[in-house]
Point group: C2
Amino acid sequence: MSLARVHNFAISLDGYGTGEGQDADHHFGHAGERLHEWMFATRWWQAGGSGGVDNAFVQQHGPGIGAEIMGAGKWGHPGWQDDPDWKGAWGPNPPFHTPTFILTHHTRSSIEMEGGTTYHFLDASPAEALETARKAADGKDVRIGGGATVIRDFLAAGLIDFMHLAVVPIVLGRGVRLWGEELEGVEKDYVVETISAPSGVTHVTFTRKGI
Amino acid sequence: MSLARVHNFAISLDGYGTGEGQDADHHFGHAGERLHEWMFATRWWQAGGSGGVDNAFVQQHGPGIGAEIMGAGKWGHPGWQDDPDWKGAWGPNPPFHTPTFILTHHTRSSIEMEGGTTYHFLDASPAEALETARKAADGKDVRIGGGATVIRDFLAAGLIDFMHLAVVPIVLGRGVRLWGEELEGVEKDYVVETISAPSGVTHVTFTRKGI
């Protein structure tokens, strides 16, 4: 069974997955890197990093994944549609290493990167995109990579099988929220577990009942 | 030093302190009692309850408190202003046991209840109300009892010294939010700690730096 999984998706205490004022140099707007410092401090990210709770969670990002789906807001920046040379925010060897599907109304030709990542551009509903990504994943799982609006749309459509959130104890005040009215009661379909780490981050997992 | 303290304030994963559709019979609207089941399950609430992390936190509610401030939305219900016989939602012996100040534009005469609780009605700013409550507390601390908008207003005014939140792993989708744009960066003035309990609730404490 090929699952749809969310990993390492960081939100602030007030539920923002990214700050306000995103541009090519400020991928998370006024949030800067504050939502992800806990991740950069792990051994997974860098030698000499911490090997505890945070590290145990971040390591789940790669194994078993055969494709990723992400929103154009994650892949690009406001205005990327007018920049034919833009190839994503992660340089020549992106950390996805699989077919990676970008949801956008502004499709373009696929881009093959180093390390196994190929960017494909899809103008499709969440269900259609997941079907396409599953075929490309060749039996493996599909990671739903964000941003916040993409995860919200997939959750609302009942398509997420596993979701790992990292709640960072900061109050951003503004930005793009993960939660929305359409998600009322979403927890009923999941086993929800929480564990706080010494870093101050609280890991919350949603595991679909019965999988 | 008389501190202003928040205790046992429960919010959903998406940050709601109460649901939508509050009335005299539905004090928390469509949230029902789901934000507080963790509290009812403790020894503090009932004999035979659990004695772990949740219980350790809830017990801090009373000790050292000499007065409470709450909003009219907590004390009353939509329409209480037209009900001269309304005496709060907690019966003849309310769980406050101190002078208790209700913030409202619709003031009325003070009401003396059993067990040491006297309701006073104040049309005042957060700072003015805190000054009044501190006098009544006679050197003890003042509890800021909620609801969400009252806590947000006191936080935004820089008046809270200690805040204990209980984040309950449900998604309410609608209601009254604790967080707001005016609280951006509020964590910078506090030591923030988090601990998740076996109940699934995550306790988050804000302790003002230097107190």
